[in-house]
């Protein structure tokens, strides 16, 4: 976490291959003074590069990516940024997906069909934790 003046800013990474969705979430997150999107990626491969170079406090990961599932990133992320938190967004929250996400060590799971305001709230909570 970085300090700018009196406000602690939570650094956020967004990983989603749907570029429009990602841009929208980034816009909503960046409206908040205490949150900042520091990197975006559209695939696991891209995300790994961004983690290595930029890092983050909270990673928001879509489950379905062109080269694998979002939860595959968690272990690698925790190695490089041990304190980081993970929020998974998924368009299908079936039992198998939930179990897989939990097993991989995600901190929070949200339905992709929810309100982006919930995503903002979850990021803030995870960033404070």
């Amino acid at each position: 976490m970085t300090e700018t003046g009196a406000v602690r800013v939570v650094r956020v990474m967004l990983v989603d291959d749907h570029a429009d969705f990602r841009r929208l979430v980034a816009a909503v997150v960046d409206r908040e003074a205490d949150l900042e999107v520091v990197s975006q990626a559209g695939s696991l491969e891209e995300a790994r590069g961004r983690i290595a170079s930029v890092g983050c406090d909270v990673a928001v990961l879509d489950m379905s990516l062109p080269d694998g599932v979002g939860s595959d990133l968690i272990a690698g992320l925790r190695e490089i940024c041990p304190g980081s938190a993970v929020l998974i967004l998924s368009a299908s929250l079936d039992a198998a997906t939930l179990a897989r996400v939990k097993e991989a060590g995600a901190d929070e799971v949200l339905d992709k069909f929810g309100n982006p305001a919930e995503v903002v709230g979850a990021i803030r909570q995870l960033g404070a934790g």
Partner: protein
């Protein structure tokens, strides 16, 4: 010839005719059973029992060619030591009569297997003291299935009628086996198809719908904050996302209705498929090249299958390749229709197991009596090439020279 002689000949003829009639009845009964019953195992079990009884031998067997073609497995049998059926194997090739039968691709009659010059009797026959023996091929569409055999420890000369009878039983078995195999293949293709449609819906319409809904939420937020300009912009983006959803769903519905595809030309079908992929994947450059003068008649059933292969290849590109550039081409080379999908993505090495998508492409290619080539290497991109012989009927249909649908298979 006196009355007595006539009588004797008559009796012999009658006996011979009686035996042939019994054999024919049995073949017909087995055929009916094969039609009525879809359990191949019980049909095989019944066939060996009936063959042994009808020919009056102690042993009968069905051996199946195992993958690799090196060995034959005793699939069903009667008269063999307990525990051998399902386990015992014979060599393919000249190490057994069954193997030799497959090599020569015709019935093999051995009056005394111990004195044979053409093949060595298998340990299975030796162990059971078999002397005389007859074997026939159980044919199959993609190579023989195996061999049906009748064996006895008494010396005997099997007649031509015996051989014909055995071959008729083998043909009944072959038809049942063929049916089971094609049902399996159809089941696999359907499963792959369902999985592909589910993936397409998930990656396309469902993601766009999540995005559209998110824009609506954001619009609500702007409107609540008294920012109608931003709210209207968000709603505009939401409505174009929803339009994409409806197009995607309509395309999927069309995809599920094979009938509609048959009534359009193959280039147009491939074009709309490529168009759909471009919408799902705006960052990838997908180029379509249709050979000049490619026939613009109806695609027909065979064309719909070609389309499925191209669709499966493009789905693989989208999901696995990470490619920037994709090229789809359609053309005629001599007697063949050639469809190709190549990309500059990450490719895969020989250690990568083929997924269900690749095997369904291969099965479709085989159903069209064509071939599928997949070339790839790590970081070398992937090239999928389908080559299908175009029959006369299909060619005429493709050219629009007949009003009927093409056959091509």
């Amino acid at each position: 010839m006196g009355a007595h002689g006539d009588d004797l000949v008559g009796k012999r003829v009658e006996a011979a005719l009686g035996a042939r009639a019994r054999q024919q009845v049995l073949v017909a009964e087995l055929g009916l059973k094969a039609l009525a019953n879809d359990d191949l195992r019980s049909l095989m079990d019944e066939a060996v029992v009936r063959v042994a009884r009808t020919l009056g031998v102690e042993h009968a067997k069905i051996v199946e060619v195992l993958p690799g073609g090196e060995e034959l497995l005793l699939r069903a049998g009667v008269g063999w030591r307990e525990g051998l059926v399902g386990r015992a194997k014979e060599d393919a090739g000249c190490g057994s009569q069954a193997g030799y039968t497959l090599l020569s691709d015709e019935p093999v009659v051995a009056d005394d297997v111990r004195a044979e010059a053409r093949f060595r009797p298998s340990p299975l026959l030796v162990e059971h003291g078999v002397v005389s023996s007859v074997t026939v091929v159980i044919p199959g569409h993609l190579g023989s299935y195996g061999v049906l055999g009748a064996h006895t420890s008494k010396r005997r000369v099997f007649s031509e009628d015996d051989v014909n009878f055995l071959q008729a039983v083998a043909n009944v078995l072959a038809a049942a086996i063929e049916r089971e195999r094609s049902e399996e293949a159809v089941g696999e293709i359907r499963e792959a198809e369902r999985a592909r449609v589910a993936r397409d819906l998930h990656d396309g319409a469902l993601q766009d719908l999540a995005y559209g809904l998110a824009e609506v939420h954001v619009a609500e937020m702007y409107l609540g904050n008294d920012d109608p300009g931003s709210g209207a912009a968000a709603l505009g983006r939401a409505s174009s996302a929803l339009r994409r959803v409806s197009k995607g769903l309509r395309a999927t519905v069309n995809d599920l209705r094979l009938g509609e595809e048959r009534d359009r030309s193959l280039p147009r079908l491939v074009e709309s498929l490529v168009e759909r992929m471009r919408r799902m994947d705006p960052d990838r450059d997908i180029r379509l090249e249709v050979q000049e003068g490619f026939p613009s008649g109806l695609a027909g059933d065979a064309g719909a299958e070609v389309l499925r292969v191209v669709g499966e290849a493009l789905t693989n590109v989208r999901r696995h390749s990470g490619a920037r550039n994709v090229r789809v081409s359609l053309g005629l080379e001599g007697e063949d229709l050639v469809a190709e999908v190549s990309d500059d993505g990450r490719g895969f090495g020989p250690e990568t197991a083929p997924g269900i998508g690749r095997s369904s492409m291969r099965e479709r290619a085989e159903a069209l009596e064509g071939i599928l080539e997949v070339e790839s290497g790590p970081d070398e991109g992937t090239r999928v090439l389908l080559r299908v012989p175009v029959g006369d009927a299909w060619r005429d249909a493709l050219r629009g020279e007949t009003g009927t649908h093409g056959e091509g298979r």
